[in-house]
């Protein structure tokens, strides 16, 4: 378990730094790339938790697709590729207060409620189990999500179309 702990803290540190950079850097492309780091860190944490399927989905969907979309978005909006001006507005301090208040509250709640719980993982969760669960227990939500994706797809096309 020690190894896993060590790995966790390393990845966590990467993620924390990455996340902070995402919201503070003045270079918009860098921000997208820092986001990749955070997402990849997330995938790594999933692996540490033994949930491999979601980890790979994270890699494929997020890093593979979403980030590409982001980059497209950046380019299509002709965002400056280098830092020219501050990318943060004058709500920094209230934003910080809100963020701290919220995360502080939930952090306190977490410590208060699950302060002594351990992750009782005995063995990694296999993809087969996930598949069975989805197609047995959560079939309807799964279908609904499918429809949602389709709707989003069509919606995005309709909206972004130039006419």
């Amino acid at each position: 378990m020690v190894a896993q702990n060590v790995a966790f803290w390393i990845f966590a540190a990467f993620m924390a730094v990455g996340a902070v950079r995402v919201v503070t850097t003045d270079n918009i492309v860098h921000a997208a790339l820092w986001l990749v780091l955070v997402l990849a860190g997330g995938a790594a944490q999933f692996i540490i938790l033994g949930q491999e399927f979601v980890a790979w989905v994270q890699v494929i969907v997020y890093i593979g697709a979403v980030i590409v979309l982001f980059l497209f978005g950046i380019m299509l909006t002709r965002a400056p590729m280098e830092a020219e001006e501050k990318l943060n507005n004058n709500l920094r301090w209230p934003g910080l207060v809100a963020a701290l208040l919220f995360s502080g509250t939930i952090a306190w709640a977490f410590i208060d409620e699950w302060g002594n719980d351990n992750v009782a993982l005995t063995k990694p969760v296999r993809t087969k189990e996930v598949g069975e669960l989805i197609f047995r227990g959560y079939l309807v939500p799964f279908e609904v999500v499918g429809v949602l994706l389709l709707a989003a797809l069509i919606g995005a096309v309709v909206m972004a179309r130039k006419d």
Partner: protein, 763 residues
């Protein structure tokens, strides 16, 4: 018990005009002027039914009296002797009265059906028919019938002829509903509805601002009194609840509970407050001082309406209420104790204030309006001094002679004065042009000032006699003083209207016709077409100079004149003293409640004494004489005797009789007519009215202030301010509504955090 069809089915009486209201309202346009006949037919049928109830009630009373449903709960009566003299005991009444009217029970006819049920409490709607209700049914339907008939001529060609008759029907229905009410809440419903009709009819010609102002003033002033009614009716419910355990508005139960609680002796404060609240309602509705100011203004309505609503029926609703739940007042205000009490004081003050004001009016309808106020003061004072039967009797006679006077004034204005009511400028000498109207008006005046043997004489007399018998000596003199003043101002009024030179010829017809000036609404078809033709008609009439009115106007006047004299003879102790005919004593027998000792205070009728009629007559004579002397001497010098021989002779007689009083004439009458009345009027116009006006203005001002500074700046400011505070905290100068998405997100997240924080804390 025998069944009496008319009494059992008295609910039909309000129902018929109600149906007529809807018929006229919905199909009025189709009928045109014939709508009036629907109203007339409905009120006619109601009148027939009312007469039926009168006949059957009398036979019911007779049957009870002779058929020996014997004397109430005498057994219980003896035991309550110890509780002091605020209750006149039935045993005493039965033995001392000797007349027998307290010694038998004539149960009221009560039928009711459940209206609705709320929390186990059942509210009934129904009829409570007793002598009082029957009397009122007769009065209301009679006057209403006459006024309907009169209006067909008087309002001919009016721009809203149908609406007028619809409103009259609704008024009759509501008033009759009020009269037959079997519980106080039902009474309240009728009470408010008559107020609505009064509003509609005062504001009948609402195109002119003064009319709608008057309508508003009337509604709002009576509504102020209705605060008391709301509170009082609610308290009647709890009076019953305290007595029996379950609350009820039922009038019989309320009366019993009031008497019962008073005997138990521990709920005086509730009874007092209930009586005080209801008294406020009476003050508002019946034009009592200090809320009387609306009544003169209400004369803005058509004259038949003034006669029906603001003289004969609606304004006496307050008196009726007082009579209906009399035990509340009797016990709450300790009326049986003599001396002074709130109700008598209010009545007495009104009596004098109203009479004083009548001196300085130049508008004939306003004289009559103040006179009405004064007479209503008599009635309330009568109730306040324990003269229940006399007050109700005065209500009865007053309805006839005051309606007579109002309709007479209407006739004068309609046919003699180009629709003006200004005595000083548009009238004078009219007795030559319209002798019939003059005769009826004189009879009404005679009844009002209490000329012996007229109706007003007997009723007023009875109040004064009972007042002194019940140890309310002070109020007896107040009443006498009122009689003097009444005689004086009516003399002045008659003089200005019917004697002297005709002063109307100069009036510009265009102005004088404004009340009938058909408003030509451009291009719409909503029933104004009658207006043109008819107003031409009237133009023709008016151009012919003053002339006598025609039958639809005179007919009611004849009938009312008849009643102004003879209505008083059914309660005339003086005549009874002389002739011993039963008819002269019938009114108390028919109308007094005969329900046993626990249902009503015992009503005592004083033994007849010659001193009372003599005093009252003297008061009238003094009043007439003083006014006569004053107006002659001041205004018209010596030659009046040449112009009118009869009055000249009368003058000589009076002068001779009161030779010694000549000295006082100028001083007292002059002072009363001049400074005192002027001062009273000044107070009325400048203080009381101003209190109302400035209260209104103050409320509006306060409202503006509250709205502008507290609502818009203060309360709203707090919200806007707190937002600004948040903004400042965040280094923001923008306002709450920045339109910035992220700002909203920030707000929502703050809120979310706060919620989450609170959830965590509470767990």
């Amino acid at each position: 018990m025998k069944h009496y069809w008319f009494l059992d089915n008295a609910w039909l009486i309000p129902l018929i005009p109600a149906i007529s209201y809807f018929v006229i309202l919905l199909f009025g346009k189709r009928f045109g002027e014939r709508a009036a006949w629907i109203g007339l037919a409905s009120i006619g049928s109601a009148w027939v039914l009312a007469c039926g109830t009168v006949v059957q009630w009398i036979s019911h009373v007779n049957a009870s009296e002779h058929g020996g449903e014997p004397g109430g709960e005498h057994g219980a009566v003896e035991t309550i002797r110890a509780f002091g003299r605020s209750i006149k005991l039935a045993a005493e009444g039965a033995s001392a009265g000797g007349e027998g009217h307290a010694s038998f029970v004539a149960n009221p006819i009560i039928h009711s059906t459940t209206w609705f049920q709320n929390n186990g409490f059942k509210l009934d709607v129904g009829i409570h028919i007793d002598g009082l209700a029957v009397m009122m049914l007769f009065v209301v339907t009679t006057i209403s019938l006459l006024v309907h008939f009169y209006s067909t001529e008087y309002l001919k060609g009016d721009r809203r002829f149908n609406h007028y008759f619809a409103a009259l029907s609704l008024f009759s229905a509501s008033m009759l509903f009020l009269v037959v009410a079997s519980n106080t809440l039902q009474l309240l419903v009728g009470w408010e509805l008559v107020g609505l009709c009064s509003f509609m009819l005062i504001g009948h010609w609402w195109e002119e601002k003064p009319n709608s102002n008057a309508a508003l003033k009337a509604f709002l002033t009576t509504r102020t009194g209705d605060i008391g009614l709301l509170a009082g009716v609610i308290m009647t419910f709890f009076v019953v609840q305290r007595y029996t355990g379950t609350g009820s508005f039922d009038i019989t139960q309320v009366n019993q509970a009031a008497i019962g609680l008073s005997l138990d002796g521990n709920s005086k404060s509730l009874l007092f407050w209930c009586a005080a609240a209801l008294l406020l309602a009476i003050i508002g509705k019946s034009g009592q001082f200090p809320l009387h100011t609306w009544l003169p203004d209400a004369m803005a309505g058509p004259t038949p309406v003034s006669a029906l609503i603001h003289a004969a029926t609606m304004v006496v609703a307050g008196v009726y209420l007082g009579a209906r739940v009399y035990p509340i007042f009797h016990e709450g205000l300790n009326i049986g104790d003599g001396g002074i009490n709130l109700m008598a004081a209010v009545g007495g003050a009104t009596l004098l204030v109203g009479a004083g004001l009548a001196f300085v009016q130049n508008d004939i309808k306003k004289v009559l309006a103040y006179s009405t106020i004064s007479q209503l003061g008599y009635m309330v004072m009568g109730l306040g001094v324990g003269a229940w039967s006399a007050a109700i009797f005065h209500l009865f006679t007053h309805a006839f002679f005051k309606a007579n006077l109002f309709l007479g004034a209407g006739s004068v204005s309609h046919s003699g004065a180009h629709h003006s009511f200004d005595m000083k400028n548009d009238m004078g000498g009219l007795r030559k042009f319209m002798p019939k109207t003059f005769a009826t008006f004189m009879i009404g005046t005679a009844a009002l000032i209490g000329v012996p043997l007229t109706a007003g004489f007997f009723s007023k007399d009875e109040i004064l006699a009972t007042a002194s018998a019940n140890e309310y000596t002070f109020f007896k003199y107040v009443g006498l003083l009122g009689a003097v003043m009444t005689a004086a101002y009516m003399t002045r009024c008659v003089y200005l209207t019917f004697f002297g030179e005709y002063r109307g010829g100069h009036a510009d017809h265009g102005d004088a016709h404004d009340s009938h000036a058909a408003h030509t609404a451009d291009g719409d078809d909503h029933g104004h077409d009658h207006g043109h033709a008819a107003s031409n008609d009237h133009g023709h009439d008016a151009n012919g100079g003053p002339h006598e009115s025609n039958f639809p106007i005179l007919g009611p006047l004849y009938f009312l004149s008849f009643m102004s004299i003879f209505a008083g003879w059914i309660f005339a102790p003086m005549l009874h003293h002389i002739f011993h005919w039963e008819i002269f004593e019938k009114f108390p027998l028919w109308v007094d409640p005969h329900v046993g000792s626990r249902g009503f205070p015992i009503l005592e009728h004083p033994e007849f004494a010659w001193i009372d009629p003599i005093l009252a007559t003297a008061a009238g004579v003094v009043g007439v004489t003083l006014a006569y002397l004053f107006y002659w001497r001041k205004a018209y010098g010596q030659n009046i005797t040449e112009r009118n021989g009869a009055l000249g002779a009368g003058k000589k007689l009076l002068v001779n009789k009161y030779y010694l009083d000549v000295l006082y004439t100028d001083v007292i009458v002059g002072a009363t007519k001049g400074p005192i009345a002027q001062a009273a009027y000044w107070v009325n116009q400048n203080v009381i009215d101003n209190v109302l006006r400035y209260t209104g203005k103050g409320a509006a001002g306060a409202a503006k202030f509250v709205y502008k500074y507290i609502d818009q700046k203060g309360v709203d400011g707090i919200y806007n301010g707190s937002a600004a505070g948040t903004s400042a905290l965040g280094g923001l100068s923008s306002k709450l509504q920045t339109g910035r998405l992220q700002y909203y997100a920030l707000l929502v997240l703050f809120l979310l955090s706060a919620v989450a924080f609170a959830v965590v804390i509470t767990n």
